[in-house]
C-alpha cells in the first residue's frame, strides 16, 4: 500500500485522515426516522485532493449498519479512489466519499462540508441532504496501535433506542494482550451505574493499514462490538457497530502521569446530549480547584429550551478513585452545586487525559489535556470535555478562527455548521457551510447552504476571571449572534467560554434552539489541496 506513512515513499507519503461524525440521519428506509447515526472512518487524500482509498463504519442502530459489521468479524465499508474529491477554497470546501455501501449518503456517495483549522485538523459536517452531523477529520500517524492507559467516553443510543452515555478508563497491552478498566454509564432506560469493571476476555484486534481495529467482549451495558480508528499513539475514535444500538466517542491516552486532585486546574467544561436524546447542552467554568474543592465558577445550560444562564457554581471533585479496593488512575468524578436550584447538571464522570494532548485537536500538543466527561444525571445522558483554562485575556481572543456548531432546533430536527471567521476589534464575522436536511430551519430553503455569522461578544464584567462572553437579545445593548442564510437572518442568544486565545466554546441558549460547538484559532493552511 503506497499511501501510508512508513509504507510508501517516506519522502512523500499520502496523508491519511481519521474522520468521525454523529447526528441525525434522514435516509433510513425503516420509516421511523430521523434516526441517530454515527460514522467513523479513515481516508487517504493526496496533496491534489484526490481520494486514494479508505474505509468507514456507519451505524444508526436501527437497520442501517455497515453490512460487514453485522458479522462476527466487523468489516468496514470501503471508500473508492476518486479524483478531485476534496475541493477547498481557503481551507473550506467539500469532501466527497464514494463507498461500496448504497445505504449511506446518496446511493453510497457521502459529501461532507469541511473547514480546516490547520493542516492536520478540520471540523466537518455531513452535507448531502441525507443526514446532518458534526465531527472532525484529523491527520493520522500510522502505523500505531492501542497500547497503554486511556480515558474514553461515548454517547449514543441503547438497544431500546433511548439515549446512553458511558465512559471510564482502561489499560491495554500491545494489541490487546491485556485489558482492564472501569466505566460509568448513564442509560436513559436503565439509569446510572458507576464503577463497573470490564470483564476478563476483552479482545482487541490489531489495527489494519488504516489504523482500524475492533474491540469485543466488553461486557454488560456497553456495545458488543466497538470499532476503533487510531489517530495517533494516544488518540483513537470509537464507534459502536452493533446493529441494535449506536454510539460514537474517543479514547485519549493518559501518558505516564499519576493523576490526583492536584491534576485539575481552572477549567472550561462543555457537554451535550446526542441528537436523539433528551436535548440539552451546557458549558461552564470552574475556578482554582484545590484539594478536591472548587469554590467558584459559572455555568450555562439549555435543556429542552429551559435556560439557566450565568449561574454561579461551586463543588467538589475526586480523581483516581478506587473500585473494589483497586485505584484506577484518572478515574474521577465532579459534583456541581448551583446557586440556582434549576441548574440540572450536578454529577459528572471525569476521566483524566495526558496533559500533552489537545482534546479538540489531537495533533496539537498544546491544550494541556484535561478530561473526558460523562453526565451522570438521571435522564440526561451526555458527554463532553473538560479543558484547562489558561488565558482569559480578552485581547487574546482575536485573529482567525474556525468554528462548528451542532444545533438542536425546535423539535426532532437539527442543523450543523462548520466555518471560519475573524475576530477583529471585538467583532466576529464569519461564513460557514450549513447542513439542514429536514428543511425545518429556514422553511423550504436549501438543505445545504452558505451561512454568515456575525456578532460582537460582550465580555462579562468579570471576564478576566471567568472567560465568559455573551451575545444576547437581553443585553443592555442587544447583541445576539446573527446567522443569515439566503438573506434570512435569525438571531441566537449565545455565550462563549474562553479556555485560551486558541480554544473557546460557544453555547446557544434559546428556548427554541440549543447548540454547542468549538471555536478554534486557525493555523497555517498553506499546504492543503
Amino acid at each position: 500500500m503506497a499511501f501510508l506513512a512508513g509504507c510508501g515513499s517516506s519522502a512523500n507519503p499520502t496523508p491519511v485522515y481519521a474522520y468521525s461524525v454523529s447526528g441525525l440521519e434522514m435516509s433510513n428506509p425503516q420509516g421511523n426516522g430521523p434516526y441517530y447515526y454515527a460514522i467513523a472512518g479513515s481516508v487517504a487524500i493526496d496533496n491534489q485532493g484526490n481520494v486514494v482509498g479508505g474505509e468507514q463504519d456507519f451505524n444508526d442502530g436501527a437497520g442501517n449498519t455497515s453490512p460487514g459489521d453485522a458479522g462476527a468479524t466487523p468489516t468496514p465499508d470501503t471508500i473508492q479512489a476518486a479524483s478531485a474529491a476534496l475541493v477547498l477554497t481557503n481551507g473550506q470546501g467539500t469532501l466527497t466519499l464514494t463507498t461500496n455501501n448504497p445505504n449511506v449518503g446518496v446511493n453510497g456517495v457521502e459529501t461532507f462540508g469541511v473547514q480546516f483549522v490547520n493542516q492536520k485538523h478540520a471540523l466537518i459536517v455531513q452535507y448531502d441532504g441525507t443526514a446532518t452531523s458534526s465531527g472532525s477529520l484529523d491527520l493520522q500517524t500510522l502505523p500505531n496501535q492501542l497500547n497503554g492507559s486511556y480515558a474514553f467516553a461515548m454517547n449514543g443510543m441503547d438497544p431500546d433506542y433511548e439515549p446512553v452515555a458511558f465512559g471510564g478508563v482502561f489499560t491495554t497491552g500491545s494489541n490487546g494482550s491485556t485489558f482492564s478498566g472501569v466505566y460509568d454509564e448513564n442509560d436513559g432506560d436503565n439509569g446510572i451505574s458507576t464503577g463497573n469493571l470490564f470483564p476478563d476476555g476483552v479482545a482487541i484486534s490489531a489495527p489494519d493499514s488504516y489504523g482500524r481495529g475492533y474491540i469485543t467482549g466488553l461486557g454488560e451495558g456497553v456495545p458488543t462490538s466497538i470499532v476503533y480508528y487510531v489517530v495517533g499513539a494516544e488518540v483513537a475514535r470509537l464507534i459502536d457497530v452493533d446493529t441494535t444500538d449506536a454510539g460514537l466517542g474517543s479514547a485519549f491516552g493518559q501518558g505516564s502521569t499519576t493523576y490526583s486532585n492536584g491534576s485539575v486546574t481552572s477549567s472550561i467544561f462543555a457537554l451535550q446530549s446526542n441528537s436523539h436524546g433528551n436535548l440539552y447542552a451546557a458549558a461552564g467554568q470552574i475556578t482554582s480547584p484545590a484539594g478536591g474543592v472548587y469554590q467558584s465558577g459559572i455555568a450555562d445550560e439549555d435543556e429542552q429550551g429551559f435556560v439557566q444562564g450565568g449561574v454561579g457554581i461551586s463543588g467538589t471533585y475526586s480523581i483516581s478513585n478506587a473500585v473494589n479496593e483497586s485505584t484506577y488512575n484518572g478515574y474521577g468524578n465532579l459534583q456541581i452545586s448551583s446557586e440556582d436550584e434549576d441548574f440540572d447538571i450536578a454529577n459528572l464522570g471525569v476521566y483524566m487525559t495526558d496533559p500533552s494532548l489537545n482534546l479538540s485537536d489531537p495533533n496539537n500538543s498544546t491544550g494541556g489535556g484535561g478530561a473526558l466527561l460523562v453526565d451522570l444525571d438521571d435522564g440526561i445522558p451526555g458527554a463532553g470535555i473538560l479543558v484547562p483554562q489558561t488565558d482569559t485575556t480578552a485581547a487574546d481572543f482575536t485573529g482567525n478562527y474556525a468554528f462548528g456548531a451542532q444545533e438542536y432546533w425546535c423539535d426532532f430536527c437539527e442543523f450543523d455548521v462548520a466555518g471560519q471567521g475573524t475576530m477583529t476589534a471585538g467583532a466576529f464575522s464569519g461564513s460557514g457551510l450549513l447542513s439542514a436536511p429536514d428543511g425545518y430551519v429556514f422553511g423550504d430553503g436549501p438543505t445545504e447552504s452558505t451561512a454568515t455569522l456575525t456578532g460582537t461578544p460582550l465580555a462579562d464584567s468579570n471576564e478576566s476571571t471567568t472567560g465568559r462572553y455573551t451575545l444576547m437579545t437581553e443585553n443592555e445593548t442587544e447583541n445576539p449572534l446573527i446567522l443569515t442564510v439566503a438573506q434570512d437572518p435569525v438571531d441566537f442568544d449565545v455565550v462563549i467560554y474562553q479556555a485560551s486565545g486558541t480554544q473557546l466554546f460557544w453555547l446557544n441558549e434559546d428556548d427554541y434552539s440549543i447548540f454547542l460547538g468549538p471555536i478554534q484559532q486557525q493555523g497555517s493552511l498553506a499546504t492543503l489541496p
Partner: protein, 152 residues
C-alpha cells in the same frame, strides 16, 4: 450492546445482583432538577384538549404540546420532541377528551405537565419512559414489542 439488567426475570435479577454487587462502586444520586422525573409524584387526570401545538410557543419547552382544560383551569402538557411525530404519534384534535399521566413541574414559575402517557379514544400513547426520557418513534416501537400484550 448487552443490557445491564433489562429483560431478566426477577430471580435472575436477584442472582445477578448478588454476584455482580462486588463490581459496582455506587449508584449516583442527585438533587431533583427542574426537568427530573420522579415517578412517585405521578398524577393522572382527565381533561379536554383545547389546542394541539405541533411546535411550541415562545417560552415553552421544546417539542409539541397539548393545551388542556380541566375543571380547575388550563395546563400545558409537554409531549416532548416526538409526541406528534412518526409512527405511534398521538392522534388527537382539539375538543377531544384525554386522560394523561405524568408529573407536574414548575418551570419559570409556570406549571408544565411532563406527560408520560396519553390515553385518547381507547388508545394509549407512550410519550416518555419512567425516567422522563422522551421516546422517539423507534423507541416506542421497541417498547411496544417488549410490552406486547402487557399494555403500557
Amino acid at each position: 450492546m448487552k443490557r445491564l439488567i433489562a429483560g431478566l426475570p426477577m430471580c435472575a435479577l436477584v442472582y445477578f445482583a448478588l454476584i455482580l454487587s462486588p463490581l459496582r462502586a455506587e449508584t449516583v444520586s442527585k438533587p431533583a432538577g427542574p426537568l427530573s422525573y420522579d415517578i412517585s409524584k405521578e398524577v393522572t387526570f382527565n381533561a379536554t384538549v383545547s389546542s394541539v401545538l405541533a411546535k411550541p410557543n415562545r417560552g415553552m419547552l421544546m417539542g409539541s404540546h397539548l393545551l388542556l382544560s380541566t375543571g380547575t383551569g388550563s395546563i400545558d402538557a409537554s409531549l416532548g420532541s416526538f409526541g406528534l411525530q412518526g409512527k405511534g404519534a398521538v392522534s388527537v384534535v382539539a375538543g377531544q377528551q384525554v386522560q394523561v399521566i405524568g408529573v407536574l413541574k414548575s418551570l419559570k414559575n409556570k406549571p408544565v405537565f411532563l406527560t408520560r402517557i396519553v390515553r385518547v379514544n381507547g388508545e394509549s400513547y407512550a410519550i416518555r419512559n419512567q425516567r422522563g426520557v422522551v421516546l422517539s418513534p423507534e423507541a416506542r416501537e421497541r417498547l411496544s414489542r417488549k410490552t406486547a400484550g402487557g399494555g403500557l
